[in-house]
Amino acid sequence: MDGLDRFLATFFNARIFARYLPDMLAGVWTTIWLAGAVIALGLSLGLALACLRAYGWRIASFFIICFADMGRALPPLVLILIMYFGLPGLGLRMPGPLVLILVLGTVLAAFAEEIFWAGLTSVPKGQWEAGRATGLGFTQTLVQIALPQAARLALPPLVNRVLAISKMTALGSVIGVSEILSVASTAQSFTGSAAPLTMGAIAYVIVFLPLVVLTRLLERRFAWKV
Amino acid sequence: MSRPMLEIVALEKTFGELKVLRDINLRVATGEMVFVIGPSGSGKSTMLRCCNRLEEPTSGAILIDGKDIVGCSSSALNRMRLEVGMVFQGFHLYPHMTVVANVMLAQIKALKRSKDEARERALAMLDRVGLRHRAETMPTQLSGGQQQRVAIARALALDPKVMLFDEPTSALDPELVGSVLAVMKDLKDSGMTMLVVSHEMGFAREAADRVVFMDGGLVVEEGPPEEIFANPKAERTQAFLSRVRA
């Protein structure tokens, strides 16, 4: 067996691919629904916080800014370990997927809040004044006039951040959530072959490449519009 | 006519299907100032940009002091470009450097002058365009006319044999145009060879040695300014001049 054959047998072993395909598909499904939950939680919480901040209540704004800063400054894995290994000491034992969704969702919310807020602040003051002058209330102006414009600006950086944080569902492998990387690692130690890792990497690229392509499309569309 | 400093021979330029320049032939003698006029889209700027290969000619030759710059290697091109100064409509000063650093950069990097030498030369050139006292300011703090004069100094500092001007006053407020034209006049009087694309008809009449009228990628007519402006022969020239005068 020469070098290339051995390389292929180690990294691209069809027999191992076939054997672990069902497990891998289950892992892919787990990754997808985890990512979906993280995105839903992160975006809705982030949007809500940005809107709340728009009302300009000092104390609320202060806590939102602290939240956003901490969410952006803390490594998610630290939070995951604290919640997963620390909280049970208080009698609060949460399943791995829940910990993952809560931590990543909150971290995404921190970033999303900042991105939405940046979008809101870049809406020209005249737009707010026009809304108020035509008899809309603050909330109506926010929802009907400011948010749609802010969302357009926020879209490209938001998709980038959603991509980056969805990928972090791979951290679930550290706390026993059987997503793609867990399946791959387990299979690797069972088979003593690197093929499951290759398979996992391919699975990730298949799952997340559409999001990468979406960032490219948005980039082009916005490049044309400007 | 003595040996031309700049000679354009059978220059053609196509963008895809579009023929922008067709068989342009033009000679600019040493110390001569030639004005190129014509409607927008006539190919004047493209022709000018071919003269230092910012635009790659499709075919033809561009001779600077007898040496062809079309088809020379990229290192030779960089050397040739030192002999051709260019001034742009949009100035294009480097916003992250002081005025004097703008004028020094290419002297140091391309001409390999020492820092002191480059600085001395830069200050002399800034003095020539009347801006020595602004040497240490940032370009964005200057008016448009001042920026354009710095851009001229930047080109002059490299001791070019020819200067190309691509609509040097089009981006300026009317009251700032005069200062730039004065510098150009001074440059001509000192014997610089200049090829100018511009809409400043008054200045052309007063200072140019020759005027070239271009339209549709062709040189339609050329001659001394008094002749072109007073009794143009070609119909297209007449039409253009009556339009800009109106």
């Binding site: 390389f7 990294f11 800063d69 901490m70 952006r72 400054a73 803390l74 490594p75 894995l77 630290v78 370990l81 604290i82 290994f85 620390g86 909280l87 000491g89 208080l90 900042e114 940046a118 602040t121 870049s122 990928k167 972090m168 791979a170 951290l171 990387l181 791959a184 690692s185 690797q188 072959s193 890792l197 290759t198 996992g200 990497a201 990730y204 997340f208 990468v212 392509v213 960032t215 490219r216 | 230092n52 910012l54 990229s74 960089n78 050397r79 470009r81 030192l82 742009f88 949009g90 294009h92 000063l93 480097y94 916003p95 992250h96 950069l105 290419a106 990097k109 391309a110 851009a151 930047r154």
Partner: protein, 221 residues
């Protein structure tokens, strides 16, 4: 409440494990230095490839960038750390982490550089080339200084991400800050070392995060 303080903010445990964590912090710092330096250089080359007029350079550069953006850094790390030995390449945890995150971050830095270079008007390049500067000189003295300034907040924010990313090195048992903290947690049966690690990250990165926000607001204004 007392349980909470005893388990999460136990000063005694924190003081006891602080030296271990400081050792870990030193490893984190070394790791960051390596990954940031490598990533900044690798990213520049990828960006230049992606901006090239030559198709055979541009397409592979984009393919590499997008592949790396689709792949979670932890997967890349595990692949390099546990996969490469199968190909007969034994690699130290530090090298594995440095290589994996260098690759990952090159892609991110590349995207930032690319945006920055594209934000510099074409006239700047033309003016420099017309003055006889070479492509390299134009890039180094005219385009890059302006490009970097235009995307400074993004470069800074990605650098924050690098520091956070190095915490993943704990997964392959590299004794950086988080690994040390988690080790201390399992030794003391107390989560306070993890909280202490979180505080150290916060202390390190909060100023940078503030700076990024400040910068972005100034650019928007």
């Amino acid at each position: 409440m007392q349980d909470f303080i005893r388990l999460f903010f136990n000063l005694e445990v924190m003081a006891q494990t602080l030296p271990l964590l400081m050792q870990g912090l030193w490893m984190t710092v070394k790791l960051c230095a390596a990954v940031i330096a490598l990533g900044l250089v690798g990213g520049l080359f990828l960006a230049l490839g992606a901006l090239s007029h030559r198709r055979w350079l541009r397409w592979p550069a984009f393919a590499v960038i997008d592949f790396l953006r689709a792949l979670p850094p932890l997967v890349l790390l595990i692949f390099i750390y546990s996969g490469l030995p199968f190909a007969g390449l034994a690699i130290s945890p530090f090298a594995a982490v440095a290589v994996a995150f260098f690759l990952n971050n090159s892609a991110y830095y590349a995207e930032i550089y690319r945006a920055g270079i594209q934000s510099v008007p074409a006239g700047q390049t033309e003016a420099a080339r017309a003055c006889g500067l070479t492509t390299g000189q134009t890039l180094a003295h005219v385009v890059l200084p302006q490009a970097v300034r235009n995307v400074l907040p993004d470069l800074l924010s990605n650098t924050v991400e690098v520091v956070k990313l190095t915490s993943l090195a704990s997964v392959v048992s590299l004794a950086e800050l988080l690994y040390s903290a988690n080790m201390a947690r399992s030794l003391t049966y107390n989560a306070s070392p993890l909280v202490l690690a979180a505080l150290v990250y916060l202390l390190l990165l909060w100023p940078l995060v503030r700076l990024v926000s400040r910068y972005q607001r100034r650019l928007a204004a």
